[in-house]
């Protein structure tokens, strides 16, 4: 045990002396989260729009006022006729035009229905879709208020309902995603590099010649990174909670337990990589190419797996992050428990067993 503690202490020296790497480790998630949360956000604020109000009555003014005061839109110009629409779009500084039909208020009073036309600049379809959703949400809201006041049936616009993320906040998707990607990267890359470094420097030989058992050496190398990665996961969760109001709706304990399981999986992957390579550079390259890219692209972190062609969907099944992201989103946002996640949990454990088994086998062959 004393020997083992010596091993741990040494590993922490490595980590803290290499302060550049440490800085990157803790700086990367913070920067990523802030970029994803603020800059790359899919939430659009202050989108420039134009309004063509044919009726200019009390109700139409109330509706446009409500839309403009939502904070999502800024009125660039009030159009007077349909002819001005195209020119306004072509100037390129508006995203949408809202057209309220002639006699908006009187139609609602008489028929209980009126139409609102939304013209969206679909050259960026993503933004167009999001802005449209915002407006539909606001109109829906407006309509409900009207019905409450007048107690008359008012025309139902297509209802868009967003579960779990009513405000369509994309940071809700990014916090679990960033945790998933970073835990894998740190755990797998850092362990594979640190074990490869011992091989490269020849110190692994000396450790093997010492009375330490191989399993002690491996655990001694890996445990500090479990602690490091776990700390990082907590930091990201806190950052998400306090800066972006991302809640943990399910059990926090369960979330942390799952994080540890996932970290162990990533570490076993790292051990496996280091059992195949002999230099730090190769370990880094393999971690980058074989882990980072597929994890970001195929885990469902940014791009929905359901929309991919089937070969990619099949590939995504062997990516640990895909399963963890389902778990972490489930626990964080939907407050699901183990009962509904047993399949994903099982897959994580099978993957751990697979990689550790493979590494042990490789290790035995080398000792033969």
């Amino acid at each position: 045990m004393k020997q083992f503690i010596g091993l741990l202490r040494k590993e922490f020296y490595h980590i803290f002396r290499d302060y550049r790497t440490l800085l990157i480790l803790f700086g990367m998630p913070v920067v990523q989260l802030l970029i994803f949360g603020f800059a790359l956000t899919n939430d659009i604020k202050n989108a420039p729009i134009a309004i063509l109000d044919h009726s200019k009555d009390e109700l139409s003014r109330q509706l446009t006022q409500k839309i403009l005061s939502s904070g999502y839109f800024i009125l660039v110009e009030n159009l007077e006729s349909e002819d001005a629409i195209e020119a306004s779009f072509k100037k390129g500084n508006i995203k949408q035009v809202l057209i309220l039909e002639q006699g908006f208020a009187s139609k609602i009073e008489r028929d209980g229905s009126a139409s609102l036309q939304i013209l969206a600049d679909a050259s960026d379809p993503n933004i167009a879709r999001i802005l449209t959703n915002y407006i539909m949400g606001i109109v829906n809201d407006f309509q409900n208020e009207l019905m409450k006041d007048t107690k008359l049936p008012v025309e139902i616009t297509p209802e868009v309902k967003m579960l779990y993320n009513t405000e369509l906040k994309s940071v809700f998707m990014f916090v679990p995603g960033v945790i998933t990607v970073l835990l894998l990267l740190i755990s797998a890359m850092m362990t594979s590099i640190s074990i490869a470094r011992e091989k490269e420097m020849g110190t692994m030989e000396v450790l093997l010649v010492s009375p330490l058992r191989p399993i002690q050496i491996i655990i001694g190398k890996v445990l500090p990174y479990v602690i490091l990665a776990f700390t990082l996961a907590v930091v990201i969760l806190l950052l998400g909670y306090f800066v972006f109001d991302v809640p943990v709706r399910g059990s926090v304990v369960l979330l942390l337990v799952y994080s540890i399981i996932y970290i162990v999986l990533a570490l076993s992957l790292g051990i496996f990589i280091s059992s195949v390579v002999n230099s730090q550079q190769v370990a880094m390259l393999i971690s980058m190419a074989a882990l980072m890219l597929p994890t970001i692209m195929l885990s469902g972190f940014i791009f929905p797996v359901e929309n991919m062609p089937w070969p990619l969907q099949w590939m995504s099944y062997i990516i640990p992050a895909k399963w963890f992201i389902i778990i972490i989103r489930g626990v964080m946002l939907k407050a699901i428990g183990v009962g509904l996640l047993w399949k994903e949990t099982l897959i994580l454990f099978v993957m751990i067993a697979f990689f550790i088994g493979l590494s042990v086998k490789k290790f035995k062959i080398r000792l033969e």
């Binding site: 020997q3 503690i5 010596g6 040494k10 020296y13 110190t203 000396v206 010649v209 010492s210 033969e368």
Partner: protein, 244 residues
């Protein structure tokens, strides 16, 4: 050759990798307190033999005892009784000399006080007090080499294996290093050393020369030169290598 007890006994050692035999029927003994030179060209099978003696690999067949313990069944006892220094010097470059000594002392299970005493002793002997707390990577190669040797000896092993311990070091430092080896041998430590420098072979009590996985010659340097009618160990080595 302070006493005649054998501390390493190898009899009929074979090590095969598939159909390739890296060690063919090796038989030799090393006496306690002896400086034993283990020579051979690259690929002659030296490394394989050392790995087996250190308990890292199991022999395919043959009898091997190190410090009285069997390499098939008692590798853990062997490991606590040997020290090992590799040609890469095997120090942690981002740790200080003190931390390196403490770490290696720790993995051999030495107590805190013992480690502290030996660290102090080592720093004094090596005159490293001034750099005791700067990282190893800032030290010159010669100092690293001496520190590496000290670290291999920190648990006071009976036998120490030195795998090309003087590679890339200047002649004066090499000479100083051999003085350290002599001192250790005088204290009764058995030294098992591989080298490519034939002048160093002259410093050994006995020398074995390997080629193609076999031991081609084994005797004192003086006897070997007589036997092969050669002026220097270099000539002996070349004659054997040419035959092989």
């Amino acid at each position: 050759m302070k006493n005649q007890k054998n501390i390493i006994e190898v009899e009929g050692l074979w090590k095969k990798f598939g159909s390739f035999a890296a060690n063919k029927d090796l038989t030799f003994q090393v006496k306690a307190g002896e400086i034993f030179g283990f020579l051979g060209a690259n690929g002659a099978g030296k490394t394989t033999a050392i790995k087996i003696l250190c308990g890292l690999w199991k022999p395919t067949s043959g009898k091997v005892k190190v410090s009285g313990f069997d390499v098939y069944t008692e590798t853990n006892k062997i490991k606590t009784n040997i020290g090992y220094m590799s040609q890469k010097f095997s120090l942690y470059e981002d740790l200080t000399p003190v931390e390196n000594i403490r770490f290696y002392g720790g993995i051999y299970g030495l107590g805190k006080k013992v480690i502290r005493d030996r660290t102090e002793e080592a720093l004094q002997n090596l005159k490293l007090e001034n750099v005791a707390n700067s990282p190893v990577k800032s030290l010159p190669l010669g100092w690293k080499q001496k520190l590496s040797f000290t670290v291999a000896m920190v648990h006071k092993p009976k036998i120490v294996f030195l795998d090309e311990p003087t590679g890339g070091v200047d002649p004066i430092t090499r000479r100083q290093f051999w003085n350290m080896i002599y001192e250790a041998a005088n204290r009764g430590v058995t030294i098992f050393v591989t080298t490519h420098y034939m002048d160093e072979a002259e410093y050994c009590d006995r020398v074995s020369i390997m080629a193609d996985g076999e031991i081609k010659a084994l005797d004192t340097p003086a006897n070997l030169k007589l036997q092969f009618n050669a002026e220097t160990m270099n000539d002996v080595f070349l004659k054997l290598a040419r035959n092989g």
